[in-house]
Each structure stands twice: as C-alpha cells, then as structure tokens.
C-alpha cells in the first residue's frame, strides 16, 4: 500500500509539469487603479503555485500559466482580486484602494475585534510599519510610531529599550507595560526581532487593558508573531551591515582646558596678594607636560572620546520560510545579530541568535492546533557607564594633556612607576596588572586624582553574561457549535543564564587600584508556565451582534538561581587563564554562595461582553478577578476585581449623517469613551506585608582578638497586612475619523489616568524600632492628548504616505500616602552635587530640586533665590527646577515609492524635560566646552554663567542650579532610508522574486541645544535619578547597507 502511494506520487510529480507545459497559455494585460492610472509592481501570481510576476512601470505584465489557472493581483493598500484565466490571453485588472482598512482585525486580548468596532484606545502597529527598521529590539521599534508611548533607550549593545505607556504612574521603578507575545506573558520583548512580528497592539486605555487586571496598570503590549499564508512557500533573506560611530566632540581640548583652569584658579591670591593657583596650573603643566612621541610636534592634545571610541561594524542576518494551505500554516525564521559597540576593543558586544517557529494545523473543521516557539541564545559584554567612576565618566573628565599611552616607564606617574619598579624587582605587594596594549601602558593623569584612563577602567574586569530562553505557546481552538470558539493555551518560558566575572589586582593610580582577586559565577534557571482556557461566543440576530468571552488563567513562575563568588588577596590555585574558574579556588578562599528556589503564582477569572447594534453603537464590558500568591499578599487579601466599560458611536453610519454629509469626504467618524480600572502588582514582592524573624541577619564578635562572628536574629520590619497593589483608574475619550476616500486619517484621544495606592515607605516613630513601614497611599495623575494624523495618496507612479503623531503628558503627584513625606533622593551625592530628585505632592514625579540661579552680581558672583531669606543658600532654598520626564513627544513617518525606489524617513522627538549634568569636578578635570564658552570673562563679558573661579566646587549651589540646567528637548531623525527593488524581470532570471537593496542613515541628524553627549540617552534611569547626566553611552550614528531577497 505504502509502496503504491510512493510510486504514484513520483509519477504524479513527473507528470504534472509535463501536463502543465502542454496546456500553458501566455496571459498579458495591464493593471490600473480606479482612476485609470497604471499600477507598477503589482504582484500577479498563479494561485496555488510559486509562479508569479510583477507589473512593469506601465502596469503591464506577462505570465505563462495553464489555461485553467487562477490569477491573483495584489498590491499593498489595494484590494486583492482574482481572475479565472479560462483560456483568455489578455486579462486587464482594476484594483481599488482598500476602503476596508477599518475592517482590519486587531488583537484585544483573549480575542480579536474589528478595528471599526473598537471602543477603547488601541493602537495597532503592523508588519509594514516595522519593515526595514534597523533596530533589533521590538520595543525600540515603536519609537515615534505611536502616540502616547515613550521609549527609554540606552545605546549600549544589548541594552533593551523600555516603554512607558501614558506616563509615569508610580514612585517605584515597576512601571513597564505588560508584554504578551502570542498569548504568552514575557518580561521583555528585547528578544523579538521586529522582522518576526506581524502586529503589535498597544492597549493604552484602562478599559482595553482591564482584561489583564492587576498586571495591566501600565498598559499592555500584545504582540503577534508572523504566521504563514496560504499559497506558495516564501523564502526571505535579509542582511545588513552597520557602520556606527559617535562624532560629537563636546569636550574641551588642550588649549581650552588650560584657559578654563587658568580662569578657575587664576584669581585666587595668597595672603600677600600673589596669584597662587595660576602658578599652580602653570606649575602643573611645567611639572608634567612633555614632548610625547605619538603626538604632532610632541604636543599632547588628546581627545579622550577619540581615545575611547572607534567606528565599528555590526551585522544582522535573517532568513525566513513560510507558507501554508487550507490545512495549516508555518512560519520559521532565524535571525542573527552581532552588535559590536563603539568602545574600542571587544568589551561592549551583543550577540543574539533567535529562531521563531510558528505552525497551526486544522485537524478537523472544529479543531485547530498550533504552536508558537521562540528560541533565543544571547550573550553580552558591557562597559561601565552612567555612574561615579564609570568608564564613560572618566572619558569625559580625563584632561586632554594626558596622553593615551606611556611608551616608556619614565613617562609614568610616580604612583604607577613605584608599582612598576616593585613589579620589576619582584617586591610588589601584589601581582598588580598595569593595563596596556601594543602601543604602551594606558596612561593616567598626573594632574589630578582621577581613578584612571577609561581604557584601563574598561579592562579592569573581565565578564561575560549570556544564556538562552525558550518561549512558546501551544494551543487548541475548538469550535463545537457555530459561533463558539474554545481556546486552551499553554504558554511556557524556559530560561537559563550564566554570568562570570573575574578581576585581579591592578594599579591605575592612587584612587584606581585593586589589591584583591575577585571571581564570581552565577547560574540562573527559570521555568514559567501559564494555562489559559477561554471561550468566545459570537451571536447575531437582526442588527445585533454580541460577542461574549469567559476564561481563566493560572500562572506559575519558578526560579532556581545559584550565585557564587570569592574575593581576597590570594584565592586561586593558579592565576593562569585556564585556572580562572570557581573550581580552582584554594580551600581556604572565602566563598559566598546563595541559592533559594523561588516560586510565584497567580490565578484569574475574566470575562468580556461586546454588543454592537447596527454597526452604529458599540458597548463593551470587561471584568477580571485576580489572585496572587502569598509572597505578594496575605491569603485573606489576595483577590482583586477589575471592571471596565466602554462605548463607541459610529456617527458616520447614522442615516442622518449619510443623508447630509458627503460620504466620500467624510468616510468614517466614530466617537468613543471608556473607563476602567487596573492594577500594578509588580510593586509587591518578597512578603512585604509580613514581619518575620530574619534568622542570622546580623552578627557580632564577642571575642576582641579572634575572628569569628556570632549570628543574631530580629524581626525584619513592621508588618502591614493591609498592603495591596497600585490601582489605576482611567477615563478615555476618543475620536477616529477618515476623510477624502480614506486618504486622510485623524485620531485623537484625551485620557485622564489616576493611580492610587502607591507603595510608600511611611515614616514611623523610630522608637518602634524602624524608621519606616510600607503603606499604600497617594495619587498620581497622568493626563494628556494624543493626536495621530495620516495622509496616503498616489500621484501617477508615485505612492506616498505621511503620518505624524503628537502626545502631551501632564504628570502630577496629587497626593502622598498619609504620614509619608516627600521622598528626596540625592543620587549625585557621590559627586558632592546638591541636586536632588524628589517625589512630592503638586509636582511631576521625581522632579529636579535645585537652586534658582538669578544671574551674577556686579562682582560676577552667582546669585540664587534665597527662599527662606536667611542670606544663606542652603538645602532649604532648593526648589522645583525641572521635569525629568518629557511633557510631549512626537513622531513623523514618511514613506514614498516610485519606479522601484522607496524612501523612508522616521523621526522622533521629545521635550519639556530638563537635564542637569553632574560631571563637573574641582581640579584638573575636563568637562563640556559649553562651560568655557558661556563663562563671563574679560574675553566674553556677555557670558551667562560665572567665571570658573566663582564656581570651582561641585558642591557649590551653581552646579545644582538652573544655571547648569539644560533643556532635554530633541528631535532626531531615527532613519532615512533609500531602497531600490530591482525589476523582477531581471531578478527572475536568478529565481528571485524580489531583490531590494538599500542604504540607511540612522540616528544621523539630531536637533538639540543640549551640550552633552546625547539628550536621548543622557538620563534613562527609570525612577529617581532621571534627569542627571553622569556620562551615558550615547546613541551612535549609523550607516547601514542592506539587502533583502524574496524567493
């Protein structure tokens, strides 16, 4: 039997082409649009085969097909039509613009809904919108595309972008949206390459997100990965190479820093009136400057950005195969990313290999099964940034009079030379490393107490971080009776990560040194599963359409992480490379080990009712009941209930509208309103409501002469069994409209979101044993407008569309928890800056609190507002000086196509926030040239800031005042891309259906007045500490060359 089948199959395979050739006809024709204009690049395909072509510039095509074949004509933005050949040799076709865009179906969580019926604020981003993007991070892909979303990014390789939907609702850092990929909850979408995504739905209002209850308080991002389409198998390869570099040069050079320091220290005289520090600057240069062989004329004038940063290449390759038929579909994709950051060397690298395997199969008319699977292998190495003593801070502060290299020991500073000599003589305390490369030792400044060269900081620690993640869902859809679909879906995540680090004694200078060896190895293992069962039932009678959904969800997350580390003056049996592992520790090395498996779980029931009457009136109600495990809430307080209601009125479907308004001009107008309640459970963890005995949490030594601690135990805190999650309530009012034959689209939303029950550390009398206890309270408002405007049209062969979005955000802390005080964080205290970020009633969250700079008096001394009138400028005079979060964001997207050429421009901007650099230090240290250019000096009497000698110390009020505050506003053209699709008649000869090549300039043009490295990445800390620029990894300019082939 089986043999017969095989033989028959082979015969058929041979016979079919012969038969097809025998009956072929050549069909020609022209494809036009409604206006009679020829359409180029229309796909003309023989249905059910791989045979196809595209129309030429005049809309003409020619294809050889069997005389009984069916031709399919398709073109983006137009309706797809099919024509039976029936022996004809000429078939002309007319494609209409797709007036049914509004019939697009969007994912709304446990179901789908027609876009025209939406009653909530849901924005959908389609694969077409994500096409050709350079970013490899799904979250970053949304930048500038959608109103109401702020994308926080850091440019370091492997650093994932974070999203904020409709503002900042909490005093905690747990304000990321809920991410759901193919029904699976994930903590980050960094692993998803945008090319694998079919659609991203952003549920912005509470009514839409309410179906996710206590985890949806900060919005929901639903992602659907691609699936195969009916028809032939499609193979797509795309690859690109990216040259990236950082080209801004905002720091002072040799001449400038000498001038600045001369000003800073030139006017101080000793008791006898002699200028003292002028001599100091001169003397420092006299002492330490020398003819360096590696510099022109021997004059050291080192640009430390050049020293630390170099242009690098990054690569990405992607291959996908997809297809399907009535029985099922498949989509597989492999994607490889290697991003080598711009820091010299290979210490900032991100590698990622991902595979996506999606399939569905119809077992019976009433049963469909399928799976979505994502496998990711990643590794990353990074350098320190955005912090005191970090490599980027050192890059900014290192003076340009210090060379990158010492080529001989004689050039070394006394401190390093002493160590070098001791190493040579074998008398050093430790086996110190002196960092170097083939050009010489990395020089440290002799002029100040810097920790050291950024290159040495880069090399001080060797570490790797990596792992793999497997995310997937398997599902079954049952359709036992008409209108009813029951879905059972099992989602799972398996992850494993390993990190290693090793550092050995080194000597960079007096402040930059380490006397011990440190080694650590950490392994993390996690497994998560969710089982969700829900049923959707569609019912219609007359003009009434009802969809009801009920379901339940159980989720469980497990982790089992092991961390080991050891540190000490001599810990390993050998320090050769092949011994640098925990296995080779000496038996007496002090080891720290931690491991405690963790589990968390949640249970939910939910339901939704949608009612549509006559396509005019839409109502929707959601309800979810959520319960969380005892690590978050006590058993008697674990359930929460989250309702929402929304309604839409499609005015354009009213007869009075149709009768009185030109429906070609006004195609669609819908008003909608919604209200809902969500929670934010992520603020609770670790049994915060309990007070238990922390065993062995403290130690004391009863023996004065001998090491050996006795361990003590005490309650860990004050109990508050009433703790609960943050709750948001949001009201949304929206309008969707389409005009001029759907060419012009306009959407506007107003939202008002209030989040209460924030978690506060409330002050309690310290006599209770603790100074604070956790309590819920307070209220944060996020309110704003979102506008989206789009235009799409075609002029002859020229297709184009332009869209823009603009969002405003008013963020205000309306109240704090009773008994709590404004929370002040002195994040820059290690720099001695006075600046604080404050969470206080009446202001935006974590605003910048500093001094108000009033200008200078007649002596050039800075003046500040003295709020309490005590003639002393102190902490009591600090006040609001700036928002740390943007008050508006906007984006613009332009797409054009003509004769095979395509052009894309994406831009994004934000503003209304302020940035205060905390990079100034006293002494011989570099900084932004802006400070020199704007100082009031003899050469520059119009300077707006005091002469450097008036503001030497970083703990003086000036540096924490509006005098040192800059607008964070910027507009950045994220991408300008020009592509060309080689005519199919050429590529067909190489069996390529489509071949596109393109070049792109990403992040190349930025408009900003911010004088630091980069306004976009200057301050992306998620909570307090935003707005302070410590020296962040800046966004790189990128030149990208890419190719995409479809077979």
């Amino acid at each position: 039997m089986n043999l017969k089948k095989h033989v028959l199959g082979v015969l058929l395979a041979i016979a079919v082409p012969i038969c097809a050739t025998a009956q072929n006809v050549t069909v020609k024709g022209q494809v036009k649009d409604d206006a009679g204009e020829p359409l180029a690049l229309v796909s003309v395909a023989e249905l059910g085969t791989t045979n196809g072509t595209v129309t030429d510039l005049d809309g003409n095509y020619s294809i050889s097909v069997p005389s009984n074949a069916t031709l399919q004509f398709s073109f983006m933005g137009y309706t797809t039509i099919t024509e039976q050949v029936n022996g004809r040799t000429t078939i002309n076709a007319t494609l209409s613009e797709d007036a049914e865009l509004l019939e697009e179906v969007v994912v709304i969580g446990y179901g789908v809904q027609k876009k025209s019926d939406l009653t909530g604020a849901v924005t959908s981003v389609r694969a077409d919108d994500l096409k050709n993007l350079s970013t490899t991070d799904a979250a970053a892909a949304l930048q500038g595309k959608v109103s109401g979303i702020q994308v926080l990014s850091n440019a370091a390789p492997g650093s994932g972008a974070e999203l904020r939907i409709r503002g900042y609702s909490s005093n905690s850092s747990n304000i990321s949206p809920l991410y759901i990929v193919d029904g699976l909850q994930v903590s980050s979408i960094q692993y998803l390459d945008p090319s694998m995504i079919e659609s991203m739905e952003i549920l912005k209002d509470a009514a839409s997100a309410a179906i996710y209850g206590a985890e949806a308080g900060n919005g929901v991002v639903l992602i659907t990965t691609k699936s195969g389409q009916d028809g032939k198998a499609t193979v797509i390869y795309s690859g690109k190479a990216t040259l990236q570099n950082y080209t801004r040069r905002p720091l002072m050079n040799r001449e400038e820093i000498i001038k600045y320091l001369g000003l800073e220290y030139g006017n101080i005289t000793d008791s006898e009136g002699n200028p003292t520090n002028k001599r100091w600057v001169d003397q420092q240069i006299e002492n330490f400057d020398y003819n360096h062989p590696l510099y022109d004329g021997g004059v050291i004038d080192q640009d430390w950005i050049d020293a630390y940063i170099e242009p690098t290449w990054s690569y990405q390759h992607s291959l996908s195969v997809s297809g399907g038929n009535k029985s099922g579909h498949y989509f597989t994709s492999i994607n490889y990313v290697k991003n080598d950051g711009v820091v010299r060397g290979d210490k900032d690298v991100y590698n990622r290999l991902t595979a996506q395997i999606n399939a569905d199969y119809n077992i019976a008319k009433w049963l469909q099964v399928g799976n979505n699977l994502s496998i990711e292998k990643w590794s990353t190495k990074s350098v320190s940034q955005r912090g005191y003593g970090s490599s980027f801070e050192q890059m900014i502060q290192m003076d340009p009079l210090t060379p990158v290299y010492w080529t001989t020991p004689e050039e070394m500073s006394l401190s390093v030379k002493t160590v070098y000599d001791a190493l040579q003589a074998g008398t050093a305390d430790q086996n110190y490393r002196l960092f170097r490369d083939e050009n010489g030792w990395f020089a440290n400044t002799k002029y100040s107490d810097m920790e050291g060269s950024p290159l040495a900081k880069r090399d001080a620690t060797d570490g790797t971080n990596g792992g793999f993640n497997i995310n997937g869902t398997i599902f079954a859809n049952l359709k036992p009776v008409k209108g009813l679909t029951i879905t059972s879906r099992l989602g799972y995540r398996l992850n494993q990560g390993v990190s290693h680090s090793y550092s050995s004694p080194f000597w960079i200078g007096d402040r930059g040194n380490q006397t011990t060896y440190s080694i650590s190895a950490n392994a993390s293992t996690g497994w998560y599963y969710q089982w969700e069962n829900f049923a959707n039932y569609d019912l219609s009678f007359g003009s009434n359409f009802i969809t009801a959904m009920v379901g339940m969800s159980y989720k469980e997350n497990n982790s089992d992480n092991v961390s080991t580390s050891a540190s000490g003056p001599d810990i390993l049996k050998s320090y050769e490379d092949n011994f640098l592992y925990m296995s080779y520790l000496k038996s007496d090395a002090p080891i720290t080990v931690s491991n405690a498996p963790g589990r968390s779980a949640s249970l939910a029931y939910f339901g939704r009712l949608i009612y549509n009457y006559d396509n005019r009136y839409n109502f929707q109600a959601n309800f979810r009941a959520d319960a969380f495990d005892s690590s978050k809430l006590p058993a008697d307080n674990r359930w929460g209930y989250f309702p929402s209601f929304s309604a839409g009125w499609t005015i354009s479907n009213e007869s009075f509208f149709k009768d009185n308004v030109d429906t070609d001009t006004f195609n669609f107008v819908k008003l909608r309103a919604s209200w809902g309640r969500n929670g934010n459970i992520s603020v609770l963890s670790g049994y915060p409501y309990t007070a238990t005995i922390s065993k062995g949490s403290s130690w004391y030594q009863y023996g004065v002469d001998q090491i050996g601690s006795t361990y003590g135990s005490a309650p860990g805190g004050l109990a508050n069994p009433n703790l609960t999650w943050e709750t948001s309530e949001q009201f949304d009012l929206g309008l969707n409209a389409r005009f001029l034959n759907n060419r012009l689209t306009f959407d506007v939303d107003y939202f008002n979101k209030q989040t209460k029950d924030l978690l506060f550390s409330v002050s309690v009398p310290s006599e209770l044993g603790f100074t604070s206890a956790m309590a819920n309270g307070g209220n944060v408002l996020n309110e704003g407008w979102e506008f989206e405007l789009g235009w799409r049209d075609r002029i002859g062969k020229f297709n184009y569309n332009v869209s823009a979005n603009f969002s405003t955000l008013h963020n205000e802390v309306l109240s704090l928890a009773e008994g709590s005080a404004p929370t002040r964080r002195s994040d820059a205290s290690s720099t001695n800056y006075k600046i604080q970020t404050v969470f206080e009633e009446g202001y935006s969250i974590w605003y910048l609190s500093g001094f108000k700079y009033l200008g200078m008096d007649e002596n050039g001394d800075p003046q500040f507002e003295d709020l309490n009138g005590d003639d002393i400028i102190g902490t009591e005079d600090m006040q609001f000086i700036g928002h740390t979060t943007p008050t508006y964001t906007y984006g613009i997207n332009v797409n054009m196509a003509w004769n095979g050429f395509d052009f894309t421009l994406n831009g994004t901007g934000a503003g209304g926030n302020s940035i205060l650099p905390v990079l100034h230090r006293a002494g011989f240290k570099n900084n932004l040239k802006w400070y020199l250019d704007n100082s009031r000096t003899e050469d520059n009497p119009g300077g707006t800031i005091p002469s450097p000698d008036k503001i030497e110390s970083p703990d003086g009020p000036f540096w924490s005042s509006t005098g040192n505050l800059f607008k964070g506003d910027y507009f950045r053209i994220k991408q300008i891309q020009l592509g060309y699709t080689i005519p199919a008649k050429i590529t067909k000869k190489a069996a390529i259906n489509e071949l596109r090549i393109y070049g792109s300039l990403d992040d190349f043009f930025t408009i900003t007045s911010y004088p630091g490295l980069d306004p976009e990445t200057a301050s992306t800390n998620s909570t307090s500490g935003r707005g302070l620029d410590w020296g962040s990894y800046p966004t790189m300019k990128k030149v990208i060359l890419g190719v995409s082939l479809t077979f």
């Binding site: 065993k695 062995g696 860990g716 310290s766 002040r824």
Partner: protein, 599 residues
C-alpha cells in the same frame, strides 16, 4: 461526539486548576515571630542582634561620618570642621557653626540610631521578662535569659543617657512598643537620668551581670558589664548634678584596679587604634574585626568606611601621600588652633600630645612621606618637593597643627611606636584602605577617673578625687601634677585627656547649667573662633621659597552665633511631628509648627 467531549474535558480542567491553595507559598529563611523568643538559643540570637545593631548603627558609618561623632564633637570649642574649602563637609560644619536645624540628616540619623538600638535591647527585655505591654509572662525563661535581660538593661540605660544628654527630654522607652503605640516624652531630663541610674542599679545588683575578669579580659570590654553599668550610672548622675550618687557608682569602678587600669604613658596612643582594642583602660567598646565570612555591608558600616578618609589629612593638597594615611584623605576635622597652642604649652612633647596632633615641624620632618629623601638630611628634607602642602589652596580650617588621634593608621608611625611593631588600623585588602578596625570608643577609665575627680570636688572625698586626677595627669606624660583638687584643674585636664572623645561639648553644657561656666563667655569663645578661621599654606609651593615654611591666613566662617538653644538638639522634624515631642529652650518655638516632615 468528540467535539462535545473535548469541551467537557476542558471544563473539568477549569475546575481542576482553580485550586487556590497553589497560591500559598511559604516564605524561606524566616521564622514567625509567634514561634520565636522561646529558648536559650533564641535569647542568644536576640542579644547578639542587640550588639550587632549597636556596632553597625550607633558605632557605624553613615555616608562619610559617624553621626554620634559629628553631632557631639564638632560642636565643641576645640574642634573645627575642615575640608577642601569653605563649602566642604557641610554636614560637619552644620554642628561646628551651629546652623543645623531640625531637618538635619545627621541629627536624625543619630537620634534614629539611638532609639533603634533601644528597640533591639527591648526585644530582649520584653520577650524574656514581664516588662512588656501587658506584663505578660515570657514564652521561655532561664538563668541564661536573665543574664541577657540584664545586659540589655544596661545597654538601654546607656542609650537613654545619651539621648537625655543631647536632647534633654526624650521618651523613656521601657518596653517594646506595639506598632500602634506612640512613645511618651519624659517630663524632664532628670526623670530620664533618674531612671537610667535606677536601671543600672537594678542590673548591678541583679547578680546576673557579667564582671570583667582581670585586666587582660579583653572580651568583657565588648559587652555590658558591671563596670560599664557603674560608669553609666556615675556619668548620668553627674549630668543630673548629683555628685554624691556619681561617687557612689564611680568609686568602686576607679578603685577596681584588679580589672581596670590606665595604660602606660607611651601606650596612650593605642587607646585610639587597633593596638589598644580591649586594653585594661577600656570599659565598653563595641567590638569589630574584619570578618571575610560576614556580609560586605556589615563590614563596611562597622569599619566606618570613609570616616577613615575624613579623619585623614587632605592628601590631594599634599605633595605626596604620607605613609600613615590609609586612603585619600579629606580632612573632615581639625584641632582648633588656640586649643592646640594651649595643649602644646601644657603638655609639651608628652606622648599624649603627640598621640593627638603634630606640630608643623614634626609633620614636615618627622613623619614618613612618600619621598625619595624620607628621613634624609635636614637640608634635603627642607628642599624636598615630595612633602608639604603643594596645593596653593592650602588646607582650610587648619592651622600649623596636624591631628591624627583618630586617623586609621595604614602604618603605625614611628613617632609614636618607636621601633616596636603594632598592627595597622585599616583593611586595605578589602576596602582600599578607607576603613578602620579599631573598636568604637564609648567608655574608658580615664573618663571615669575624671568624672569621679569632678564629683569629689568640694566633698569629703577630695583626696580620693585628687588621686584620681593625678592618675590621669601622671599617665599623660605632661609632667603637670595637681597638688589640689579644683574644678578648674579637672576641667583643664579633661579637655586634653578626652579631646575629640564625645566629652567636651556635653561638659560645656553641663557646666553652664551648673554655673561653672558663663554662657556669655562661651558665646564669646565660639564667636572668636568662627571669626578667625585659619588656612595653612606652604611658602615652598605658593611663593617658590627655597624651603618649606608653613604660614596661616585667617578668614571668617559662614556661621551662626552659639545660642542657649544650641545646648540641646532639636528633635528631628519627623520625630517631633510623629510623636508630638516638645523641644526645649530656643527650639521650643518649633513645637507648634505643623509642617510636614521632610524626609
């Protein structure tokens, strides 16, 4: 059939997974409070926790300082806040220059640490005795738990004494407060101090309190003992203006020569360094030794991380790093110039004076610099560019005297140790040097002797008092021995002996209260100090002189005049608003303020 069956199976599954008990996940690494405090082992852990809390908080670091050291010592008239320039170390200047207020963070930290430490003592007392809210019997009681309770009692008394000395009228927290309870402020300082004395008396007479077992019993200095209880009761009595009661408790202590004695004159310096931890002079010092097996931050806080930087000279203003310095020095505190001169005149080259500070010449030429001509000829050293104050800013708040009493020695200097070997104070292998393993000083015999001497002035025990004073004077090496017991002699000696040891400022307040000092004179002294703040320079660098020569210029501090209200601290704003405590003296004007707490 199947298409009906599958949904039924699924429906059953709905029910099956809705087991809410899957949400009950026990917490790891903890024990319920309901089951704890029920054995000797639990009592030991609770007592250990009390000491751990004390050494890590009251005796530990907060940012770059120890709050107790700041709020008590910088207000004295013989110590100046110092640093790189006039705006440096504001936190210290606030107390030096009396411009702190109730929102001051260090003030709050000190208060919270004292009250927090009381809570940890009360965990022992209330859980192992009937001294709790309802007078309930403890879950467990034994001879051992009774010992623990008495130790905790003395600790609690000591902390209350410090609160009363500094804030005048704190609450007496005689048991564990419940979360819904507020502390009740005492009616007077006297009420608190009377209670402190009674508590110490109770512990001393309980028979359960540990006694030091000879002068070599170092471990007894790391915990509460009869000797320390006597010290606390005596000191509290002196602050209660009750010399007779003070004599009652201090006399057995100063006479207990079997267990306590002053160290040799040449060893005076060891009292402030690791070499002297647990020596015969110590009565109580919370113990700390770096323990690689203990948690990092515990080690960090106990080693008073960065306080070591603060108590080191301003090294980035110097031509090279002196060998004694453990890490980059920030020079947070300086010996006041007039006092240094007086001290030098009184003590000359006594080991005591040299343990406290160096003169300019000693500093330049007897100290080990990071120089190729270290200990070279005088000509070489005078022209040596690797010593002296190289930065033309000079060293602010500093005259030509260089204190190092509390410096964390990276290498014990020969000036003090001679050729004898002693351990260093810091732990460079762990914290890059900015650390100190020296036990935190709380009580040593010299203070007890001077308190006793003072208590004897004008009483029938004058001869005993003179003997106590003479013991201190003899040991100092100054050669100045009083032949008669006078208040002035004790006051003078105490300023030298106990300089920078939490004594001077509270004594000034006490002596104003008892009429021994005139408030206006004190105000004038502070005024003069703040009008003449020195900065020391080196002509070798500032003027290109051929050899080192230190010189001083003066400027005015940015200060508030000392006022009667500064005799006591205001309650931290949080405490005042939460507890409705009333401040005394000039701070009473805050009492009706309803402002929200700041932090």
């Amino acid at each position: 059939m199947k298409k009906i069956l599958f949904p039924i199976v699924l429906g059953c599954a709905f029910v099956a997974v809705s087991c809410e008990d899957k949400l009950d996940i026990p917490q790891k690494g903890t024990v319920s409070t309901l089951e704890y405090y029920a054995s000797d082992a639990d009592a030991k852990e609770a007592l250990t926790d009390m000491y751990a809390n004390f050494v890590q908080n009251v005796a530990g670091t907060e940012g770059i300082d120890n709050p107790e050291q700041v709020i008590i010592n910088y207000a004295a008239d013989d110590i100046l806040a110092a640093g790189g320039h006039i705006n440096d170390h504001d936190g210290f200047r606030g107390f030096d220059e009396f411009d702190y207020d109730e929102a001051n963070g260090t003030l709050k930290a000190a208060y919270d640490r004292y009250t927090g430490a009381i809570y940890h003592a009360n965990l022992v007392i209330s859980n192992f005795s009937t001294e709790n809210r309802k007078g309930a019997a403890p879950k467990f009681e034994s001879e051992y738990t009774k010992k623990c309770v008495e130790e905790a009692r003395v600790m609690r008394a000591y902390l209350h004494m410090m609160l009363a000395i500094l804030w005048n009228q704190p609450a007496i927290i005689d048991r564990l407060l419940e979360p819904d309870e507020f502390p009740v402020q005492a009616e007077s300082q006297k009420q608190v101090l009377d209670w402190v004395i009674a508590e110490c008396d109770k512990a001393i007479n309980s028979g359960y309190l540990l006694k030091r077992d000879g002068k070599t019993d170092k471990d007894a200095t790391a915990r509460m003992t009869v000797g320390f209880a006597q010290f606390v009761a005596g000191k509290a009595a002196m602050f209660n203006n009750d010399p007779a009661t003070a004599r009652k408790y201090l006399e057995p202590l100063v006479n207990n020569t079997a267990d306590y004695d002053l160290v040799e004159s040449s060893e005076y310096w060891t009292n402030f360094h690791v070499a002297g931890d647990g020596n015969c002079e110590k009565i109580f010092e919370p113990n700390y030794i770096y323990d690689p097996n203990a948690d990092f931050w515990g080690n960090t806080f106990r080693s008073r991380w960065m306080v070591a930087d603060v108590f080191c000279w301003r090294t980035d203003h110097l031509a090279s790093m002196p060998a004694v310095c453990p890490a980059a020095g920030w020079n947070g505190g300086a010996i006041q110039e007039d006092f240094a001169k007086k001290f030098l005149e009184h003590d000359g080259n006594s080991p005591r004076r040299r343990a406290c500070f160096l003169t300019g010449d000693e500093w330049l030429y007897e100290m080990e610099w990071n120089s190729k001509v270290n200990f070279g000829t005088m000509d070489e050293m005078e022209a040596d560019s690797a010593r002296g104050i190289s930065l033309a800013d000079g060293i602010y708040s500093h005259a030509q005297y260089f204190e190092w009493k509390h410096m964390s020695y990276a290498k014990v200097p020969k000036i003090l140790a001679g050729d004898k070997a002693y351990p260093s104070d810091n732990i460079p292998a762990v914290m890059g040097g900015a650390s100190n393993q020296k036990n935190f000083n709380c009580a040593r015999l010299a203070e007890a002797l001077l308190l006793y001497a003072e208590a004897c002035v004008g009483s029938g025990d004058a001869a005993k008092g003179l003997a106590a004073l003479n013991r201190v004077q003899t040991r100092s090496g100054s050669g100045k021995i009083s032949s008669e017991l006078t208040f002035e002699a004790v006051m003078e000696e105490k300023q030298y002996e106990m300089w920078f040891e939490n004594c001077r400022f509270p004594d000034i307040v006490r002596w104003i209260n008892t009429g021994k000092l005139n408030l206006n004179d004190v105000v004038a002294t502070y005024h003069k100090i703040h009008e003449n703040l020195p900065t020391v320079y080196d002509k070798f660098y500032t003027q290109g002189a051929p050899k080192h020569e230190l010189y001083v210029t003066y400027s005015k501090a940015d200060y508030q005049e000392f006022d009667a209200k500064h005799m006591y601290l205001p309650f931290p704003r949080d405490a005042r608003t939460a507890n409705h405590f009333k401040n005394v003296l000039g701070w009473a004007s805050l009492n009706d303020s309803s402002e929200e707490p700041a932090e």
